[in-house]
């Protein structure tokens, strides 16, 4: 039973997202059969079960206190906010460091700063985060309140009364009207439809907008709760988060019925096309499946941040070094002055005032050293740039703001903006080396279009014109299919000619099969306009089926109505009713489905459709051999064109055959044990000796701009891997049409069935690829950006081979081979294999991986990759939910990576370096001064200025630059995708830059400290005045340092840079205007002297000149690509650029002026 686990089963051809199809409940499986054999009647142990007494909430809740229906998505209440929020925030190591420092400072022996000043930075950071959290939580509270106070009809005293959602209890019977949302998870009892069908839309739950059908049990359909008491007991499994699974049984009137996922209505879904539905609440509030599923994406850490942590460790070693130097020197000083300390005017160890002289505030030599060490940690604490963490968060929020509002990333069609679901990895977008892409729905639109048909050995693929078929009149309404299909004129003519001629008969049967052999629910779109023309929308779970039904409609076979017992097809304007006698669902074993129709002419026919491999095994090959051969040839052509093919067959059942089948079918569908297997057996019996009708070919259209996007990514040095569940031929043809594969490439194809053959083919392939790369070996080394581009190799490998390769020692071989190839195409892979392939690369390189996909089968891959991107397409929200970023189209990947990724990476890399520098230069100035205070950690800079330094004086400019600075314009970045290589080469942040920055920091701190030192040596300068000079000098210096590195000055940049400097002057003035501080009025005195201003000027220039010189020499004589591009942007006219020959990439940036 390999279909039990959707991830292990073989991947079928004509179904997308196969594991969905297994999990989802389809038409016909009335009994909510549980797929696992033998489990259908599994006893749910009393311990594991919850017992729900119908219409008896008191008894239901007697034994166990089930959750009420009020929900709480908010995390805090007014009272719990403070402790819980603080607890959550202190999960950060950085904050704990901060806290320890603040606590240390509270010890009287170590009190370096006043109490207020020492707590301020931590309090500031905590309160900023707390305010943000509180705001978010307040919004959640508000939405909870709205949700909880919605009204629903609940049966109370034999009468349906309105009740607030929050008061609904397990066991109560509810009535839901059309278009209402279900307030909790409900087991369906009866509906307005006599057959007990209810249509629901699950868009809120899984994002799929098509209608799903749910069934009431036959035994309860007829019950009217207002009139007769329903007594019963539902025994169901404990609340869990599987929205596709439900196991329960119900005892009504002594009968025991089993319940499955098709009998339950989930909270958040809406009732559609059904007047009312009645059901009993089984899971409420936080125990509903919707609530259990509402968890965010797992958080990822950015690569840059991980690297940064390494440098943070270096900085903490450096901090330890500084503190050790201070404490050792202090120890030497104390030892040296041992005999003088007692009465030394500035030490006075002995206290003479209180009786006998005794030591005052002196704890012995050893302890003094330890105290000095701890105090120096407190004084130099900002060496570890704690503020960097909060700045990075703010910057990422800002970057996300701009990404979300970027018009280039807005998808008109789905009306969706870019979404930043994870705020930790913006900068990783600038370093992506591998892109793993799903095919269907990601590269292609997953909007199936019927293209060709091969009917009875004749190929009809001349579909050019769009048919505006004569609309069909039904009940005074004119119906028109929502989607237009290109039709082949010849086929159209044949289809209209009735079924009299032999050729026309086959066409008739084929088109009937298209229209009938599916699970499509036709819906008339209720628009408010009075126009008699109504659009007919085909709702179904498979886009292929939708395409086929629309195609049939275009040829005059319009499915207009479906109930559980019959379908109505309007054939060339004539309404015909077909009884659906039975329907055998699609499953991944048989890879086909069939429907048994009772036709108006009293014949019974079975129509089968399925994948070619599975169909040819059940088609009677002895009949019509020529036609079978012709069809096979057509299929070959179609799939090489990248089309998805399906084969149709038909058989007429005679009476005895029908009776036989009917009995077996009835028995199977009412069976309690092993229903699924029995049904499958019945299906297999009837689906044989078919007459071939023909084949259809559906085009899965490429999304707009995909070939260009792939070309851009390739030029940028990003390797694209495509992982698809589709078959090899389709995958390869899509590969060619999307320019992923080019004719220049050498393809290596690996299809193996065993481990040995896999190993052999891998080794052979490795030899081949080596040969190919050796011939181009000379250029190989120089063309660093894309090594394999000279003689590119494409690897095509299928899922069966991967089964043998992944999780074995062959992984290593595959990795070696794959890295030599510029393109890798994996076909027929299962979802978990997708994740396995991502892991294969991720675990072996330090390169960044990105996975992009749209379906539930991409979730594992998206979560595995460093960056997960979800396409918010037509396939539901699971991929988006699991993703870090979500967008509407594959081609947005280009602006996302090349523009925003590049910017974010450059900004963040610079910001980290700058923050390290900024804090280190300040700490070093403090350190140099400590040497002149006999190592006692006096600071000339006031404690308030020390604390405000990273909060007010210098915080804003780096944040604003981190959000707004752009090294290159969008246009240039898109024009030269190669510029993306800067991220691959880690140009914005690496250890060389770190050490250079640190050397620069050292020089700058020396300049800041020593100029006032010598200028004021042996003068009457007081500590506060020189402290103010140092404060202002450092602040101006670091702000100008930043200013020097800004690439783009807009008014905002000007405002924050100069504003910060002015703000510092104002703050220093305010601090010096407080009479109780010892620095009272110092700034006013010192600022009156010319010496002060001359010092300031000398400091700033002397400190910055070396950096300026090095920067210029580097930029001028060994320019990086970014530098050249910047110059080109500024100095070369656009026309001149256009004439240069580098125009390899056709994607141009937006022509905004």
């Amino acid at each position: 039973m390999d279909s039990q686990n959707p991830f292990e089963g073989e991947i079928s051809l004509n179904r997308r997202k196969e594991e969905n199809s297994v999990r989802e409940v389809r038409h016909g499986s009335r009994g909510g059969d549980i797929e696992l054999l033998g489990l259908s009647h599994k006893e749910i142990g009393d311990d594991d079960a919850r017992l729900v007494y119908l219409n008896d909430p008191v008894k239901s809740n007697e034994r166990y206190e089930f959750a009420g229906n009020s929900i709480r998505t908010s995390k805090y209440s007014v009272f719990s906010f403070l402790p819980r929020n603080l607890f959550r925030q202190f999960h950060r190591v950085a904050y704990i460091y901060f806290l320890i420092i603040a606590v240390l400072n509270q010890l009287p022996q170590l009190a370096v700063f006043g109490r207020g000043a020492s707590i301020m930075p931590l309090a500031f950071v905590l309160s900023v985060t707390a305010v943000k959290d509180a705001y978010e939580d307040w919004r959640r509270h508000r939405s909870d309140r709205v949700e909880n106070n919605r009204l629903a009809w609940v049966l109370v005293d034999d009468e349906f009364q309105q009740k607030k959602w929050k008061d609904i209890q397990v066991g109560e019977i509810l009535k839901i009207q059309a278009n209402e949302t279900f307030p909790c998870d409900i087991v369906l009892l009866s509906t307005s439809e006599p057959t007990g069908v209810a249509f629901v839309q699950t868009v809120n739950l899984d994002g799929e907008s098509n209608l799903k059908t749910r069934y009431a049990k036959q035994e309860t359909i007829s019950k009217i709760p207002e009139e007769e008491m329903i007594n019963g007991l539902i025994k169901c499994e404990r609340p869990n988060r599987n929205i596709y699974g439900f196991q329960a049984n119900m005892e009504v009137e002594g009968k025991r019925l089993s319940l499955g996922p098709s009998n339950i209505l989930l909270r958040g879904c809406e009732l559609k096309n059904t007047a009312w539905a009645i059901g009993v609440a089984v899971y409420c509030g936080r125990e509903t499946k919707a609530m259990l599923n509402s968890s965010g994406a797992p958080s990822k850490r950015s690569h840059l941040e991980t690297r940064m942590n390494f440098e943070t460790i270096i900085l903490s070693l450096f901090l330890t070094l500084l503190c050790s130097i201070v404490s050792v020197c202090a120890a030497v000083w104390l030892r040296h002055r041992k005999d003088e300390l007692d009465i030394l005017p500035f030490y006075r160890r002995k206290d003479f005032a209180h009786g006998a002289p005794q030591n005052f505030n002196y704890y012995g030599w050893g302890l003094e050293i330890i105290f000095t060490f701890l105090m120096s940690v407190i004084v130099f604490q900002i060496m570890i740039p704690i503020s960097l963490y909060i700045s990075m968060e703010l910057v990422r929020v800002g970057q996300a703001y701009f990404m979300i509002r970027d018009m280039l990333l807005y998808d008109e069609e789905s009306n969706s903006r870019f979404q930043c679901r994870s705020l930790n990895i913006n900068e990783d977008l600038g370093q992506i080396k591998y892109v793993f892409s799903d095919k269907t729905g990601t590269l292609t639109e997953n909007k199936m279009e019927f293209q060709c048909a091969s009917i009875w050995g004749v190929d009809y693929s001349g579909g050019r014109t769009i048919s505006r078929n004569d609309p069909v009149k039904v009940d005074g309404k004119i119906l028109q299919p929502k989607m237009e299909v290109k039709v082949d004129p010849q086929l159209l003519e044949l289809s209209r000619s009735g079924k009299d001629t032999k050729g026309a008969k086959h066409v008739h049967d084929f088109l009937l099969a298209l229209a009938a052999c599916n699970t499509i629910v036709p819906l008339v779109v209720d628009d408010t306009s009075d126009s008699p023309v109504k659009l007919l929308d085909y709702q179904g779970e498979s886009p292929d089926e939708q395409a086929l039904a629309y195609a049939a409609a275009a040829y005059g076979f319009m499915l207009t109505e479906r109930t559980s017992g019959h379908i109505v097809i309007n054939i060339q304007g004539e309404r015909q009713r077909f009884n659906v006698l039975g329907l055998h669902e699609f499953d991944s074993d048989r890879k086909r489905m069939s429907v048994i129709l009772g036709c108006p002419d009293k014949t019974v026919k079975v129509f089968v459709k399925g994948a070619d491999t599975s169909m040819f095994s059940v088609i009677d090959r002895s009949l019509n051999t020529n036609i079978i051969h012709a069809t096979e040839a057509h299929l070959q052509t179609y799939s090489s064109m990248g089309l998805r093919t399906l084969v149709f067959g038909i058989r007429e059942l005679n009476n005895s055959e029908f009776e036989q089948w009917h009995l077996a079918f009835e028995a199977a569908s009412t069976a309690i044990i092993g229903r699924a297997a029995l049904l499958r057996k019945v299906a297999n019996n009837v689906e044989n000796s078919l007459t071939i009708l023909g084949a259809s070919a559906i085009e899965d259209k490429l999304q707009q701009g995909v070939p260009e996007a792939i070309e851009s990514l390739r030029t940028a040095g990003i390797k694209a891997w495509v992982l698809t569940g589709d078959k090899q031929e389709t995958a390869i043809s899509i590969g060619y049409s999307s320019k992923l594969l080019t004719s220049k490439m050498t393809s290596i194809i690996i299809n193996s069935n065993s481990k040995q053959s896999s190993r052999r083919s891998l080794e052979d392939a490795l030899v081949t690829s080596k040969k190919l790369t050796i011939t181009s070996g000379i250029t190989h080394n120089t063309g660093a950006s894309d090594a394999a581009a000279v003689n590119p190799v494409a690897l095509i490998i299928d899922g069966t081979s991967l089964v043998h390769i992944l999780d074995s020692e062959l992984e290593e071989l595959l990795f070696e081979l794959a890295t030599k190839c510029s393109v890798v195409l994996c076909c027929r892979v299962a979802p978990l294999q997708k994740a396995g392939i991502v892991a294969l690369v991720k675990n072996r390189t330090r390169d960044m991986t990105l996975a992009i996909g749209d379906g539930a089968n991409d979730v594992s891959m998206i979560q595995m990759a460093d960056v997960g991107v979800g396409i918010s397409g037509r396939e539901g929200q699971q991929a988006v939910m699991a993703s870090d970023f979500a967008m509407g189209q594959f081609r947005f990947l280009v602006p996302l990576l090349l523009v925003h990724g590049h910017w974010n990476y450059q900004r963040m890399g610079y910001m980290i370096l700058y923050n390290f520098y900024r804090n280190a230069v300040f700490v070093l100035v403090l350190f140099w001064y400590v040497i002149f205070t006999s190592f006692t950690l006096t600071t000339a800079i006031t404690e308030w200025s020390s604390m405000l330094y990273s909060i007010i004086y210098t915080a804003l400019p780096t944040i604003v630059v981190g959000i707004l600075d752009k090294d290159l314009s969008r246009r240039t970045l898109l024009k030269y995708p190669q510029l993306y290589g800067a991220g691959h080469r880690q140009e914005a942040y690496n250890s060389k830059l770190f050490w250079l920055t640190m050397i620069d920091t050292l020089w700058q701190s020396v300049a800041v400290f020593s100029i006032p030192l010598f200028a004021y040596w042996a003068s009457s300068i007081d500590g506060s005045s020189i402290g103010d000079l140092w404060t202002l000098a450092v602040v101006i210096l670091v702000n100008l340092h930043l200013a020097m590195d800004i690439s783009r000055w807009s008014w905002i940049t000007h405002a924050v840079i100069w504003g910060s400097i002015i703000a510092t002057f104002i703050c220093v003035t305010i601090i010096d205007a407080v009479p109780i501080f010892s620095g009272y009025w110092a700034i006013f005195h010192v600022a009156k002297t010319e010496l002060f201003w001359l010092c300031l000027l000398a400091i700033v220039l002397a400190a910055l000149i070396p950096r300026y010189v090095v920067k210029f020499l580097y930029q001028y004589y060994s320019p990086c690509d970014i530098q050249i591009a910047r110059e080109a942007e500024k100095f070369r006219s656009p026309r001149e650029l256009r004439n240069t020959k580098i125009e390899t990439n056709p994607i141009l940036g937006s022509p905004h002026r």
């Binding site: 707004l964 001359l1094 937006s1150």
Partner: protein, 350 residues
């Protein structure tokens, strides 16, 4: 084809070209801000720019440097170190004992004026190796107490100089006040005494705001060990200017404090006789004591450092601008030349 792709997705010229906007459209509104297209200036370090900035620095810095040097040289400064001379020869082996004894500590020194000094001539005392910035020391004061009489007992920061044995709080308390400098100088030339104006040596702000006019010294130096000067208990703190000067703690271990001003000109080669009372104990920590007479100029005291620093920076800038000019002519690079891009430089391309 490609341009079609781009233009169909940008709609950047405002919503005007995107046809009738759909209701509930989530299309981001166009603004220069949200599209990160604010008008901006993009500075690039071109050789011309760099050479000009260095030239500018040189042009500004060299004159300032010269002006600083001239200003500094204008200052006439006479420094007389006296901590050894003022100990009788016999006591020089045990200076600490001498300074702590009750012996007569009068001492006469003479200073020769090297150049004419125009009034006002500032009289400083300079201490070396005295860490007024020591952490224990700078914290040992009570600004509350200094300011208002009601906060007299606010002495917690002042330990161990907080309370005089059994007689209540010391005002002003703390080590800083306790160690108040107490050498005194009286100047004369040709047996005619020179008045030293000791008014107006403290900061006005200190007088007005930080030292209360109702606060009188109390129990000062009564803590068991005398650290320095005593204060007249009938004069409020805001008129004790020596104390105020002393309590502006110095930034560096070598510092000067203003003692007073001589408000007459002193002529070249004049000999000034100073009678000083050598009370202050710097001997226990080998501190030096110096008496300084100095005029002042716009640059402050006599210190060539800043002038030299400015000249150096100016010269270096000049040299750099010259150097860059030469290099620029010898080995120019066309700015923004796409052939320099790394992917165009490889031997694989033309």
């Amino acid at each position: 084809m490609s341009s079609h792709t781009a233009s169909s997705s940008n709609g950047g010229n405002g919503s005007g070209d995107s046809g009738v906007p759909k209701r509930n459209s989530k299309r981001p509104k166009y603004s220069k801000f949200t599209q990160q297209e604010l008008p901006a200036c993009k500075p690039i370090l071109t050789p011309r720019w760099v050479v000009s900035t260095f030239m500018l620095i040189a042009i500004v810095f060299i004159p300032i440097g010269i002006a600083c040097l001239i200003g500094s040289r204008d200052v006439v400064e006479v420094v007389e170190r006296y901590e050894t001379e003022c100990i009788p020869v016999l006591n020089r082996t045990n200076t600490v004992q001498f300074i702590q004894s009750d012996a007569d500590k009068t001492c006469n020194i003479s200073m020769t004026i090297p150049k004419r000094m125009k009034q006002p001539i500032y009289v400083y005392y300079q201490l070396d190796n005295f860490y007024q910035n020591h952490r224990r020391y700078v914290k040992s004061r009570s600004d509350e107490q200094l300011k208002s009489a009601s906060k007299e007992n606010d002495t917690s920061a002042c330990k161990p100089e907080d309370i005089a044995n059994g007689r209540g709080a010391i005002v002003p308390c703390g080590l800083i006040a306790w160690s108040l400098f107490n050498d005194t100088y009286s100047f004369s030339r040709q047996n005619q005494s020179l008045t030293v104006n000791k008014k107006g040596i403290a900061w006005k702000s200190d007088k007005q705001k930080r030292f209360g006019k109702n606060v009188f010294p109390k129990n000062f130096q009564g803590g068991g060990l005398v650290g320095g000067a005593t204060l007249n208990e009938s004069i409020p703190l805001n008129e004790q200017e020596d104390l105020m000067v002393w309590m502006r703690t110095a930034a560096l271990p070598t510092f000067r404090k203003l003692y007073g001003k001589i408000e007459v000109d002193l002529e070249e080669k004049e000999v000034i006789n100073v009678t000083l009372m050598n009370y202050y104990n710097t001997y226990s920590f080998n501190g030096k004591k110096k008496l300084v007479l100095s005029t002042t100029s716009w640059i402050g005291g006599r210190n060539d450092f800043l002038g030299i620093a400015y000249l150096t920076v100016g010269m270096i800038s000049f040299a750099l601008s010259m150097g860059f000019t030469i290099v620029y002519f010898v080995k120019p690079r066309r700015l923004g030349d796409p052939t320099f891009l790394s992917w165009n430089r490889g031997p694989g391309s033309h």
